[in-house]
């Protein structure tokens, strides 16, 4: 179905490709399923919005992890504002993966009024050539933003022309923020760039389908994401190792050479259905590489299901079941006592749709009570997970929202004991006086059995002392008027 997009200059956005939307509130996953797959969410908007991220910021998160790459941000100077946070994060990410950390090398084309009138193409060309000369990178990512898109710069043409004379491969990542309210479009924008401008075969080992040269184990490509830390990769590698599989992680923290070896694996494996369907679909179509998208390995059931999804096509189903049995047996004994006094605690989950559903099911397994979730967006890649969650938690209220005022209203209205929430909301929740933990944390395990153990520990730790939150709540002021908590938190979501 997606085949038609791969050959296009510009990547698709999820609103067009996958019925994506970001406003919904309903009684259960089934109601979201019904509205979502019917395309209703694409017709939904709000009459009040608050600022968030955009597809450009998430595209940058992925691109900055690539080794020996430089970035040319094509736009006015402000679009690079996030780079100063990404620098330290990527530095740490490289270091813990045993890669050589290097300062981020990036340029802003700094579009000014004259460029807006006359076009920014010449400046883009100049910046690419300078980056090639000055930084000697293997890859130059050109990240194209709103302004050049509105004025009609042909960044693809410039990238192609520049690339003919540069030592580096020049890759266009076309991701103007206004084209999508769904930041998940960034994943497709990034992968589209790899697909269109980088060789993904022909490197060492690329032809040896599935056989690792070193240890004889079968190689599988596992697709990571910015929210998946090295500790999670290690846990996944450990579990796959138990099945005699060697995990090679893509696409973050890869490099040009590693991309050329991409095809030398038996199977492509996703760690998040929402993240990878565009790329895995392409690798299947172009190279015939089979792939699996088995949800996120979070919780007992989630991890078992994910392991089985990987093992099935490789004929390792029985082994996967044995690994899961063994790991679960060991873990239950250590996890049970951790949460002894916390059974029945009511928990709201907030963040990426795949994670909030996986975590909600894990919470149920741990004996806590999931009372609902705010998923940052909906698109059709979430359908299998929504069906699974509906079966496990048939009465779980759901909202699609990335908005602080809706989160504020929901927390006031539903009074959760704990919120498991995406980064960027922790300050708000602390000031509201609610114990909260990060939905993910790249410094701590979140996936697999280690991740479940860590989740239980983190929940228990959150309740161990809530003095910080209580004191803040007594003093904090919020911008919303007194009436707001009495209203329907989702009342500003409208159908167009």
């Amino acid at each position: 179905m997606e085949g038609k997009y791969y050959g296009q200059k510009a990547p698709p956005v999820r609103e067009n490709r996958l019925n994506a939307g970001d406003g919904f509130a309903g009684k259960c996953c089934a109601s979201l399923l019904e509205s979502g797959r019917g395309g209703l969410l694409t017709q939904t908007c709000r009459d009040f919005w608050q600022g968030n991220a955009c597809q450009m910021s998430l595209t940058l998160m992925m691109a900055t992890t690539i080794e020996k790459a430089a970035i040319v941000l094509h736009g006015p100077v402000g679009c690079g504002s996030n780079m100063h946070n990404l620098g330290p994060a990527v530095h740490k990410g490289k270091k813990c993966r045993g890669l050589v950390p290097a300062p981020l090398r990036w340029l802003s084309t700094n579009l000014t009024e004259g460029d807006i009138i006359g076009g920014g193409e010449a400046k883009l060309m100049e910046a690419i050539l300078y980056a090639d000369r000055e930084f000697r990178p293997e890859i130059i990512f050109v990240v194209s933003t709103c302004a050049p898109s509105v004025i009609g710069d042909d960044a693809d043409e410039i990238v192609t022309r520049a690339g003919a004379g540069t030592r580096a491969r020049v890759v266009l990542l076309d991701c103007p923020g206004f084209k999508s309210r769904v930041v998940a479009s960034a994943y497709d924008a990034f992968y589209h760039g790899l697909i269109r401008y980088l060789p993904l075969e022909g490197g060492p080992g690329a032809g040896k389908k599935g056989l690792g040269p070193a240890d004889g184990a079968r190689a599988v490509n596992v697709f990571n994401s910015t929210s998946i830390g090295q500790v999670d990769e290690a846990e996944i590698a450990r579990l796959l190792g138990e099945l005699g599989l060697r995990a090679r992680f893509y696409a973050e923290y890869s490099n040009a050479g590693k991309f050329r070896g991409l095809t030398g694996a038996a199977l492509n494996v996703s760690l998040c259905d929402i993240h990878d369907d565009y790329m895995l679909g392409f690798l299947w179509q172009r190279f015939g590489m089979p792939y699996v998208m088995g949800g996120m390995p979070i919780g007992y059931g989630g991890t078992r299901g994910w392991l089985e999804s990987v093992a099935g096509p490789l004929g390792l189903g029985r082994e996967a079941g044995e690994v899961a049995d063994r790991e679960e047996g060991r873990l239950r004994a250590t996890v049970e006592p951790l949460l002894a006094g916390l059974r029945g605690k009511r928990v709201l989950s907030v963040g990426g749709i795949a994670r909030v559903m996986a975590v909600s099911m894990a919470l149920k397994e741990l004996g806590l009570e999931p009372i609902g979730f705010h998923a940052y967006h909906y698109d059709d890649t979430a359908i299998p997970l929504l069906e699974r969650t509906q079966a496990e938690l048939p009465d779980l209220p759901v909202a699609v929202s990335s908005q602080d005022f809706e989160l504020f209203g929901a927390v006031r209205k539903f009074g959760p004991d704990l919120v498991i929430s995406h980064s960027g909301t922790q300050g708000l929740l602390a000031k509201m006086g609610v114990p909260a933990i990060q939905l993910y944390d790249v410094d701590r395990p979140c996936l697999g059995y280690k991740g479940l153990h860590s989740l239980a520990k983190r929940i228990a730790f959150a309740f161990a002392n809530v003095s910080f939150q209580k004191r803040l709540a007594a003093k904090a002021r919020f911008p919303y008027n007194k009436e707001w908590p009495k209203h329907d938190p989702y009342g500003h979501i409208k159908t167009t």
Partner: protein
């Protein structure tokens, strides 16, 4: 055509405007732009400004029109109107400021007309045009001041007499803006005046409202806000004084003498204050001198800062610590006229270093590396060792490589938390002393 920039140490006009508005008490931003602008630009100072955080209606609270492709094609006025109306109903604030992003400016949305409807209905809403392609964050600060103090507040207000407004430090992009304003406010008050610092937590919206009645505007920036201060004077009749932010006793003594003259404070009162402050300052400083002298903490030094900090920081290092300043890198984009003004403020401070207008991290790193011993045996004739860089967090890694000491004092600053710290005045000078020497002795454990 301005050239491309390597790792710019500022964001766009909208970014500076967001940082400014979200740091003003009772003022609410409404960002007319794509969904990501408010979030991304806010996080520039949330992290890079020494973890400034979100504030009352910053971060994820910032109302935005979140325009999409359909608004870009058909115009975003209707969406903006709906956003303003709902923000007024939902958010508590004294003044709502619409700030515009590049994409809505390119398509020609008329935010002023939208705002006028609400203003006519009695709602406190203004619009400030802040397209990113017309300037960067320092310009955005200026535009917001202009919009609030010169366009919104009516002219002809009665003078309050003993009141001074302090301007020139850009929130977040100057990570020490709060500490510096607080100390400058303290000294103004010690002369018997009230001080509007606007951006410190003790202030509220009444401080903004009282500003047009002030006796003097002090502008701590050689490059920014001059046009604003001139127009302020024309409209409200408040004279302005552009001066360096004083860091340490030597500079602050001079500052207070001049301020006393501007405000007609008796010489005796000024001198008494200076004496008291010096007694305190040197009471601490003299005991620190022991470790500095014994350890031979004397350095060649470079600073990497914005224009407001370049001369003041260099002056402190040269005059109070007796260091040799080789380079002062000024990192924000400046016009020719602004460069001249910064150059003359620098020259007037009697600084012997080289003033360079450079923001590129790798260019600055090259210059610093150039001071290190070269060649096989490390023998050179033009080395500058030992070397200390007071710059941003971007300088940390090149300094490690070049075996130079380093302290983060400028944007982006993400290896320290900045709360009350400021380097201005007497207290700030001691704080700087403490931070510099701490960074040296921290290697001992």
């Amino acid at each position: 055509m301005e050239s491309f920039i390597e790792s710019p140490r500022f964001s766009c006009a909208l970014g500076g405007a967001i940082a400014t508005v979200t740091s003003l008490p009772g003022v609410i931003p409404i960002v007319h732009a794509a969904m990501g602008c408010a979030g991304n630009l806010n996080s520039a100072v949330y992290f890079g400004g020494g973890y400034l955080g979100d504030g009352y209606c910053g971060g994820g609270h910032i109302p935005t029109s979140a325009v999409t492709e359909s608004e870009i094609v058909f115009g975003g006025a209707k969406r903006l109107e709906s956003e303003i109306g709902n923000a007024l109903g939902l958010i508590e604030g004294r003044l709502f400021v619409v700030l515009t992003g590049c994409m809505v400016e390119i398509i020609g949305d008329d935010a002023l007309a939208c705002v006028k409807t609400f203003r006519d209905g009695g709602s406190p809403v203004i619009s400030v045009s802040t397209p990113s392609f017309t300037g960067h964050s320092y310009g955005g600060y200026e535009l917001v001041l202009e919009g609030i103090f010169n366009d919104y507040f009516p002219a002809g207000r009665k003078k309050a007499g003993k009141l001074v407004n302090l301007f020139g430090l850009v929130p977040g992009y100057d990570p020490f803006f709060r500490g510096d304003l607080a100390e400058m406010g303290r000294l103004v008050r010690a002369l018997g005046f009230s001080a509007n610092t606007f951006f410190t937590p003790d202030q509220d919206f009444r401080n903004l409202e009282s500003a047009p009645g002030a006796a003097l505007n002090v502008l701590f920036s050689p490059a920014w806000g001059l046009g604003f201060a001139k127009r302020f004077e024309a409209l409200h009749g408040t004279p302005y004084w552009v001066t360096n932010l004083p860091i340490g006793a030597a500079a602050t003594d001079l500052f207070l003498k001049e301020l006393g003259r501007k405000l007609n404070v008796s010489q005796k009162k000024v001198e008494n204050l200076i004496d008291d402050e010096n007694k305190n300052y040197y009471g601490y400083f003299l005991r620190t001198a022991d470790v500095i002298a014994e350890s031979d903490y004397k350095f060649y030094a470079a600073t990497v800062t914005d224009s407001a900090y370049a001369a003041p920081l260099g002056f402190f290092l040269q005059e109070e610590l007796g260091w040799v300043v080789t380079d002062s890198f000024v990192t924000e984009g400046l016009s020719e006229g602004q460069r001249l003004a910064v150059g003359s403020a620098y020259g007037a401070s009697g600084l012997g270093g080289r003033l360079a207008f450079e923001t590129g991290a790798s260019q600055i790193a090259k210059r610093i590396a150039g001071y290190q011993p070269k060649g096989k045996r490390g023998s050179v004739f033009d080395e500058r060792v030992p070397f200390f860089v007071l710059g941003s967090a971007l300088e940390k890694s090149p300094c490690l490589k070049a075996k130079a000491k380093h302290l983060s004092v400028s944007y982006p600053l993400y290896d320290r938390l900045i709360v009350t710290a400021g380097y201005a005045g007497y207290r700030g000078g001691l704080r700087l002393l403490e931070d510099v020497v701490s960074s040296l002795v921290s290697a001992k454990a």
